[in-house]
């Protein structure tokens, strides 16, 4: 039993951190007319070469052969910079392709030769038709990943008419579309794909919770009011401590859940959903609350467009509509029993 990173895992974290801060700094999001999903081709290829789209795939599909644990570490780093979710959706699409036996498609996705968006069914019983989906990162994507109670599917979205929607988070392209006539190119039982999706989403949330904590902590060391750094006032330092606690507890549960998920691939375990959904609800709360506190404690500068704090808030809100809602995950947590040996 050990919840600390080993040397190889630390190297993965360091390498990811250095690439992300160099190539995908949060400041890239400035200038709202440039959707960041339009990643430069060579950057997208570079990301594929690093193996981020194929961490857990077999070597046959061009994979790196790591476990969910290492994949989680990468996506936590990606979360710190509100990285393009196209990376997440394409990595998940490659898993669906591989699990469906479409190794060729899996390796094309893994190599970054194509990309996938995420299509969430708009099942809210309102004005939208029951067939319509809200598609995230639809731009430059050839495929749409969707999940229902039974299946995870990849559909070919080329030639589909998208109704673009402007969103809170301008770095994520969003559109409404009816994908029901799109050809299904791969499908597989939903459970393992959904678990992996939720875990990686939680990993990004943890990265965001940690990044917002660091952001305000650094500012609190230098910004002065009443002749003293604001970090010396308990009205500021105590909420900072609470931010750190939320991030740290969510991180520990994330690591634990990633180990449980990775173990479940070797032997039958019944509590994967319990741990993964717990990680998600804690990480989501940590990211949402920390991005809120980060803006509040910055004061006026926090709400300006030229500052980066608002990107975390907007991304955190946008992500809440991916891979089931907080409420659905809470229901899973309540109804899934603990395994006695844990």
């Amino acid at each position: 039993m050990d919840l600390l990173l080993d040397n190889e895992q630390q190297q993965i974290v360091d390498a990811t951190k250095s690439f992300v801060s160099d190539q995908l700094p949060i400041e890239r999001l400035h200038g709202r007319d440039i959707p960041s999903s339009q990643l430069a081709d060579d950057l997208w290829k570079g990301i594929a070469e690093l193996g981020w789209l194929s961490m857990t795939l077999n070597e046959d599909s061009g994979g790196v052969g790591y476990s969910d644990v290492e994949e989680c570490l990468v996506f936590r780093e990606l979360g710190r910079m509100c990285s393009p979710p196209r990376i997440l959706f394409t990595a998940l699409a490659a898993k669906v392709a591989e699990r469906s036996g479409c190794n060729e498609l899996a390796s094309r996705l893994a190599r970054g030769e194509t990309a996938a968006g995420y299509a969430a069914k708009e099942n809210y019983g309102g004005h939208q038709s029951a067939l319509s989906s809200r598609v995230f990162e639809y731009q430059d994507a050839d495929y749409g990943l969707s999940m229902d109670d039974e299946l995870a599917q990849l559909v070919d979205t080329r030639g589909v008419v998208f109704e673009p929607r402007l969103g809170l988070d301008r770095s994520v392209s969003m559109a409404i579309s009816d994908l029901s006539d799109c050809p299904v190119v791969a499908e597989t039982p939903v459970q393992p794909v959904h678990q992996s999706a939720v875990l990686l989403q939680a990993a990004m949330y943890v990265g965001m919770a940690e990044a917002t904590t660091s952001m305000i902590v650094e500012y609190a060391k230098v910004r002065e009011t009443f002749g003293k750094p604001i970090g010396s006032y308990q009205a500021v330092r105590h909420p900072c401590a609470d931010m750190a606690i939320r991030a740290e507890t969510a991180r520990c549960q994330l690591f634990y859940a990633s180990l449980v998920l990775s173990e479940s691939e070797k032997c039958e375990t019944s509590d994967v959903d319990l741990h993964v959904s717990s990680a998600r609800v804690l990480a989501e709360q940590a990211a949402c609350k920390n991005s809120d506190d980060n803006i509040q404690l910055h004061g006026g500068i926090g709400v300006t467009d030229e500052f980066t704090a608002h990107y975390f808030l907007k991304r955190a809100q946008t992500m809440r509509f991916w891979f089931a809602t907080n409420r659905e995950h809470l229901s899973t947590v309540l109804s899934t029993p603990m395994t006695p040996s844990r």
Binding site: M1, D2, L3, L4, L5, D6, Q9, V69, T213, V217, A220, K221, K228, P229, G231, S232, Y233, Q234, R237, H238, C240, A241, D242, A244, I245, E248, T249, A250, C252, Q253, F255, Y256, S258, L259, V260, E263, L274, H275, S277, S278, V281, L282, R327, L330, S331, V333, L334, M338, S341
Partner: protein, 391 residues
């Protein structure tokens, strides 16, 4: 990273489970103070005789010399078997013992450690004073060195079990010129020594064993000093780091058990109008969130244990743990009120009359004792976040 329990760990768990099944006392802890203490002593002694006292203490002093992880397995199995809590042995097992293991002399270890594990000697704490709680370093209780003795005069407070304990972990100011953290000395105080008076403090949860302790020319031998004279602050801080780091394994295990129990109760209790508590969306969501938090407490505990395995001692993360566990504890017992209904407020000033109400009221002991959560947040800001000091 891995969560595999080794074959040895599994065998240890099974061994613990079997032993507990055969040895956990069937009768409940008595309500009357003296008999409750006898019960605690007896249970501790039974554990010692069975070879289960001090799982992670050195073998030389009666422990089993195993890892912190094994200690956690033992506590988990204790909770599963419904074994009694350490009760009046808590301070000895979680404070004084670990402090002596790290800072005590060989003679002190030999004399005091086995007696704690056998349940023969009980300890209480003597840190806080009426004007030195959160600001512990402002303590004024005097210790004057006279020949081979230290003569103590002053007033300590919040002394749990002070009227029954054999020894006290006492911190006194031995250098009258000193300020704040300097000039303090950590000394073992014999509670039967002449000049000590305990006066009980009545608390909001009713019958309790917290006391004010007064010292009138109490003479303690110099050989009772733990660590060096004048270096008592660092000894006291190591005492507290055990409480904040690993002392919470107990509480972690207990909280997960309680959440599971409350969920079971919610499946049977009905709300006004006839709906089952668990079917109420607001209650269900709060129960689920607290359940997720208890899983995080456990993962966090494992992370801290891994850190201790690697570096030898708990870091400032213990302060994060303290704030988190005690806050979740309070929320859990607030929620119990919604699930249980009006019976929750039936209380006869004694834990035995309603453990839910008692634990609810006791939440504030957890969030205040051992360094209030406000002090913990300052520690986190100073040591983890390295923010500019508040004072």
């Amino acid at each position: 990273m891995n969560i595999d329990e080794s074959t040895d760990d599994k065998l240890f768990r099974e061994e613990a489970r079997n032993w507990l099944m055969a040895n956990v006392p069937r009768d409940k802890r008595p309500r009357e103070d003296r008999s409750a203490l006898e019960f605690d002593r007896h249970w501790q002694h039974v554990q010692f005789d069975g070879g289960w006292a001090g799982v992670n203490w050195p073998q030389k002093y009666g422990g089993r010399g195993l890892s912190g992880y094994r200690h956690m397995i033992w506590l988990q199995e204790c909770a599963r078997a419904g074994a009694p809590a350490p009760g009046a042995n808590y301070t000895g097992l979680h404070h004084a013992g670990p402090t002596l293991i790290v800072c005590g002399s060989e003679d002190q270890k030999k004399e005091y450690l086995p007696a704690i594990l056998k349940g023969e000697k009980m300890w209480c704490q003597g840190f806080s004073e009426p004007n030195a709680g959160s600001d512990l370093a402002s303590m004024r209780t005097k210790g004057v060195i006279e020949g081979s003795e230290i003569v103590v005069n002053g007033h300590k407070t919040w002394t749990s079990n002070g009227q029954y304990a054999d020894y006290q972990e006492l911190v006194v100011r031995t250098d009258p010129e000193s300020k704040r953290h300097r000039g303090l000395t950590w000394i073992i105080c014999d509670m039967k020594a002449e000049g000590i008076e305990s006066r009980p403090i009545t608390t909001m949860y009713g019958k309790a064993s917290v006391n004010d302790t007064f010292y009138d020319d109490v003479r303690l031998p110099l050989e009772n000093v733990v660590g060096e004279i004048g270096k008592g602050w660092s000894v006291a801080m190591s005492t507290l780091s055990f409480e904040r780091g690993t002392g919470f394994i107990d509480q972690q295990v207990k909280i997960s058990e309680t959440v599971e129990r409350l969920i079971e109760i919610a499946k049977e209790r009905r709300l006004p109008g006839g709906q089952l508590a668990i079917e109420n969306a607001a209650i269900a969501e709060k129960l689920a969130f607290i359940k997720a938090q208890t899983l995080a407490i456990k993962s966090f505990t494992l992370s801290i244990l891994s850190e201790i395995e690697r570096s030898g001692q708990p870091g400032a993360e213990g302060s994060m743990m303290k704030v988190y566990v005690t806050t979740v504890h309070k929320h859990l017992f607030e929620l119990a009120s919604e699930v249980i209904g009006p019976e929750f407020i039936e209380y006869g000033d004694d834990p035995a009359t309603n453990e839910w109400a008692f634990e609810f009221l006791y939440s504030w002991v957890y969030t205040i004792a051992g360094g209030s959560n406000e002090i913990q947040r300052d520690i986190i800001a100073d040591r983890v976040l390295e923010l500019p000091r508040a004072r």
